[in-house]
Symmetry: C2
Subunit: 173 residues, 2 copies
């Protein structure tokens, strides 16, 4: 395996890899090496959550998402989820539950997003980064699920995380 760095970026490292596949075929693959991320469904009450309206240049406009962000170097995914929740919504969570994880698009990146649900929210410190254009909305969980079904929510991590919380044990809410 040889690996040539094409670009060291803020998102991760974009590399051209000469890889040997099972069976021995050698292929050149472009890979975005990503540190991983965490995303969280914040519960205000048993049946109300927070959703973000976030501007995404790559999406060509503003989309619905749950709070999320990249892991800092060496950061635990749960710590990242709690940090991003507070930075993006201004709420700290008294309790957080891991609900699942996804590979976002394994054909070209190792990005893995760890999914959480957060409860017992108390006011903390809102801290939007430069370049983050975010509105915070309180939404009934049922309405958020309807927005998945209608196609209004298209962000993959948000859809999967919302799906996972609907099967969370009642005791976890």
């Amino acid at each position: 395996m040889t690996r040539r760095v094409l670009h060291e970026g803020k998102v991760g490292t974009f590399a051209l890899v000469d890889a040997e596949l099972p069976g021995g075929t050698r292929v050149k693959l472009e890979i975005l090496e990503h540190p991983g991320a965490a995303a969280v469904v914040p519960f205000l009450t048993d049946d109300r959550i927070l959703l973000l309206r976030q501007y995404r240049y790559a999406a060509g406009g503003t989309i619905w998402e749950i709070p999320a962000g990249k892991l800092d170097p060496g950061e635990d995914p749960e710590t990242c989820a709690l940090r991003e929740l507070e930075e993006e919504t201004g709420y700290r969570a008294g309790r957080i539950v891991r609900t699942g994880e996804i590979l976002t698009t394994p054909g070209f990146t190792n990005e893995r997003i760890y999914l959480y649900a957060a409860y017992d929210l108390v006011p903390g410190r809102l801290q939007h980064g430069r370049g983050e254009v975010i509105e915070i909305h309180e939404v009934p969980l049922e309405e958020a699920l309807a927005m998945v079904e209608s196609g209004e929510i298209v962000d993959a991590k948000s859809i999967v995380a919302l799906h996972h919380v609907t099967r969370a044990t009642p005791g976890a809410r």
Copy 2:
């Protein structure tokens, strides 16, 4: 807006964009410009589907996925879904239904995957590309859904597409 190409690749174009956000802030963003893709849940019967075990270098091994692939230039997503289904599983579909779409990871790519369910399968021509290491498995739909709940399936497009087919109208199955 200025845009500098960092790498023209097989996956897409990796570019550094100097973008103006709503509100006027200027930021430099790394964007993987992707042509889009299609993915499909193939139904062998009302309650049995096909899943792939596919080697993904970026995932560090073999993962469960549904058939999927990138749009060829100018290709309609439905045509792409039918083509990838036949190439990857050896089945042609008599009927295909659009079930939804996702943005895989809108922080750094515009990749949009159009999701389908395919029915009335008949034998066609299997054609795995160089670099594709794929095993085809017949799986009860209920088992596939259990593999989502257990975390055995982590590929985002596959999870969302399987979620969407569970709410498809009975007439569509």
